[in-house]
Amino acid sequence: MSNEPRKESLRYLFERVVTPLGYKFTPDAELVDELLEAEVKLEQDLGAPYCPCQGRSGVREEDMKIVCPCIPFHRAHFDAMKRCWCGLFVHLDVTDPDSLPQFPPDED
C-alpha cells in the first residue's frame, strides 16, 4: 500500500506547526520525500513519526521529545544550526540547506 496519502497528511500538518516557529520544509525535495517516507514507516512500526535520525530510549516521556516536528524540544540547538537535526525543516530564510552544518548541542 502506498504511503503517499499519509505523507501528504504529515506534510499538511507539519507545515502548519513549524511555520509559526520560524521554520519551513527544506528546499531539498528529495530529502523531504525520503524523511517523510521514513517517518511514515516508523509510525507504522512504532506508533509515532519519530525523527529518523535520533534513537529512542524506550522511556515514553523522553521519546515524545523526538516525535516530528520536535523543534520545540530542541529550540536553542536547532536555531543555532538553522535546521532541525534530520534536516527536514530549516529556518525560513534558508535557501541553501547543504551549507548548514550538523553539530551536537554542546558545540553550539
Partner: protein, 88 residues
C-alpha cells in the same frame, strides 16, 4: 597511515547514509552498524555504546581513531583522519 573508523548509524537516517558514502568516496575503510537493524541484546548494546560515546541519541556517531564526531560533518572527519594529515 591506517585509520580506524566506526560508524554507528540508523537505516532510516539519510545523514548516516551520506556519512558512509563520504567514506566510500574518500576511499577510507570503515566499519559500520545500522543499530535499528540489530535485534535484542545486540541492538541494546550497540545503542547504549553510541549513546555513551555521543552523550545523546543523535545519529550518525562516527569514531575516528578514538575521536567521536556526532553528525554528518566532513570537516570534522578530516580533522581526525591520520591519512589526511589530521588526528592521531
Amino acid at each position: 597511515m591506517i585509520d580506524e573508523v566506526f560508524v554507528y548509524a540508523l537505516s532510516t537516517c539519510p545523514w548516516c547514509r551520506k556519512t558512509k558514502q563520504w567514506f566510500d568516496d574518500s576511499k577510507i575503510e570503515y566499519e559500520a552498524v545500522d543499530v535499528d537493524k540489530l535485534s535484542g541484546d545486540e541492538q541494546d548494546a550497540a545503542a547504549d555504546k553510541a549513546y555513551e560515546l555521543s552523550g545523546g541519541r543523535r545519529f550518525p556517531v562516527v569514531v575516528i581513531n578514538g575521536e567521536v564526531v556526532v553528525g554528518y560533518n566532513p570537516d570534522k572527519f578530516l580533522q581526525h583522519l591520520r591519512s589526511w594529515g589530521g588526528g592521531g
